[in-house]
Symmetry: none
Subunit: 416 residues, 2 copies
């Protein structure tokens, strides 16, 4: 069954409020094996609502509508839907009493407008709102179904799960199991991922590519009436991706790169100090977003001035003078200085030219050195990024964490 | 003129990705006096795209489309739009060369698939993508206009503002002047802003409130055939907001808090060192996002362990033992230590419990101290935030920068 989603409100079409209901609803439907044909937002206008209903019923068998169920004059969803289907409006006395009781319990005065929320199109089945006065309803028309719930996200979510989905399952059940696997890759272009996977046997598996700067996510989806068959299909497809692209894969599903690196450091009881120049604290910020990061993260030094590189990290002024603050030599000494001064197992350093100014012919904007020191050996790699300041910082932080991950999984090339 | 927005992608209709483009686009259009008739999302399917285009053109004169401009097989927007209008596809050699150059500069191999991104419907006007390979395009058909840009939000935003809106303004200017003023406020709730402004005489001005965690933006919009009248109206309205809420205002229009603070520091030739504990580098990251920040930002110390607070900032172990790492005493010594060790004019410090663990009855999760030292006196303020880890970090960084801004504009209360 295909489903359409209609969200109603001037606050949506004016950009005042981000519509999060459509995304939430489509995710919950997708999980249960239903397909969303279209998601539409229109303002509080009867003609726009009518036009939207007509369009969505032309592409879907079921419709979920949110918004415009409040007590005020601009809440016109119920009347617009009744009008679109040529149905009368009736007051539901049980709902009216429920609303009166709720208002009393909240110490809110009763206002005649509130009675509007107990009015539904004839033939509607009401959907309880356990926390507010805006009840929902569903209607069947010519083998199609429409369910209407409030726009307030917390109420919409609860009523979707407890009210709407059971109705859809009762009236429109197919029995497919839907499974999804997200594979996160870095350091490779979307087109190369596509080409590399073009001859993989993905029978019965849908494959999507989603750029998430600076990365690519490969999303595998299978549906099957048998859960074990679905599991088998997705495992096989995942194996195909891993076989072809393993060296670019850094995480799966909801995991983040900083989370993966943190788990490796904690698991191996390895401590870390950072020396950041061009990333300006971004790597520290990302690692300290992980709860429990204080177990491995001892200190981060944002050594922005040359003086601070000397002072905090012991990089000799002579080295900076001879090779420059943005150089392999400085990066290596920053990593080593972070480690020894911090008395940690590892030191990780970045230095580069984030832009928009400061580039030279030899070292243009985007030139970055990333270095890692462990007391036995040091590693350094030069990069040439070509983005704006913020994205050069992001890309540098990403590569620094990738290098750290590869070191921790013994995959770091010995290149210097 | 009415405009429709079409966002394309299976990641949207499956709920995998929250569509933020529609909301961003509608906000930018609304600000400029255009009305959004409908916002529609469909999957990567030619029939769904064709149906969506037909519906939106039935309710709007202009159409903005995002998504499906990538190099892979599931990116079918260009072909679907050409098909819907019966147009041939041609390769644009200049765009092809631009993509080749970009791939080369990124060290990505050239793959035949990439050539697909240089193909446009005949008669299309291309829209430059300054940072990626997915160029956009616009088409005029029967007095209506369609503009197509990528789905990646950062690219979509830039290309909307620099490419699409100028085309709409050229082809669909009505004679109203639309002026917008954005006023950014911190440390106040949306409902209190609303109540405070409820009796303000905003004649002929539309007023919107937009929560942007942790802030509120008040957006004033006026339209008038006479530009000077529009200017006069918006100035008067701005004056009303400033009169009532001046102490919460920190920036206007496109300015950011870090940008405002950076400009003040640069203008006054004041240097800064940071000592961050619970913010973990986020303040450094924000300040170094501002081009030219190296003029005032000398160093940031992410002193996560107690040892690093002693080592890097000279906070006596005895103070940490007696008062705790999260205390007024430690915060003040961190700020002073950052300043003296960094030989800067100012030292700014944060220490707190970001969560989810580490709270006590006396100092629950969200307890934060922010301190500022200038060599003559020190300032410290205690906060109790009640959010998750990331938002506690964000809120702390925001307040630290607000305190710094107030210091630099001589508005900091003398409270200790």
């Amino acid at each position: 069954m295909k489903i359409g989603i209609l969200t109603i409100g001037n606050e949506l079409t004016s950009g005042k409020t981000q519509d999060t209901n459509s995304s939430f609803i489509s995710r919950e439907l997708y999980r249960r094996g239903w397909q969303v044909a279209a998601m539409l937002s229109v303002g509080d206008d009867p003609d726009a609502i009518k036009g939207g209903l007509d369009f969505l019923f032309s592409v879907a068998d079921g419709l979920i509508v949110t918004g415009g169920l409040g007590p005020t004059a601009d809440d016109i969803t119920t009347a617009a839907i009744a009008g679109a289907f040529g149905l009368k409006l009736n007051t539901d006395e049980a709902v009216l009493q429920h609303i009166k009781d709720l208002m009393t319990s909240l110490n809110h005065p009763w206002i005649p407008n509130n009675a509007k929320q107990a009015v539904f199109p004839e033939g509607a089945e009401t959907i309880i709102n356990r926390v507010g006065t805006a009840w929902g309803f569903s209607l069947r028309q010519d083998g199609k179904i429409i369910a209407v719930i409030p726009g307030v996200p917390s109420e919409a979510r609860q009523m979707l799960l407890e009210g709407v989905i059971p109705i859809l399952q009762r009236d429109f059940s197919d029995n497919d199991h839907v499974l999804t696997k997200i594979i996160k890759l870095s350091g490779i272009s979307e087109s190369l991922v596509d080409q590399t996977l073009s001859d993989a046997p993905f029978t019965g598996v849908s494959v999507g590519f989603y750029p998430r700067f600076p990365d690519i996510e490969v999303v595998l989806t299978v549906r099957d009436v048998h859960q074990d068959k679905a599991m088998e299909k997705i495992k096989r497809a995942e194996g195909e991706v891993v076989k072809r692209l393993s060296k670019h894969i850094y995480a799966y599903d909801q995991d983040t790169l900083e989370g993966v690196v943190a788990a490796l450091l904690i698991g191996k009881k390895i401590t870390l100090a950072l020396a950041e120049s061009c990333t300006g604290g971004l790597i520290s910020d990302r690692l300290t977003d992980v709860p429990g990061s204080s177990a491995f993260f001892k200190r981060g030094l944002v050594a922005y001035s040359n003086e601070s590189k000397e002072d905090l990290l012991g990089v000799p002024a002579e080295v900076i003078r001879q090779y420059g603050a943005v150089s392999r030599e400085t990066a290596l000494l920053m990593a080593e200085g972070a480690r020894t001064r911090g008395r940690t197992d590892l030191g990780l350093a970045t230095t580069g030219i984030a832009g928009p100014d400061g580039g030279t012919e030899e070292k243009p904007v985007g030139t970055v050195f990333i270095a890692l020191a462990d007391g036995k050996s040091t590693y350094c790699r030069r990069f040439s990024f070509r983005w704006d300041r913020r994205r050069n910082k992001m890309l540098t932080s990403q590569w620094a964490l990738l290098i750290l991950r590869k070191y921790l999984t013994d995959e770091l090339d010995s290149e210097q």
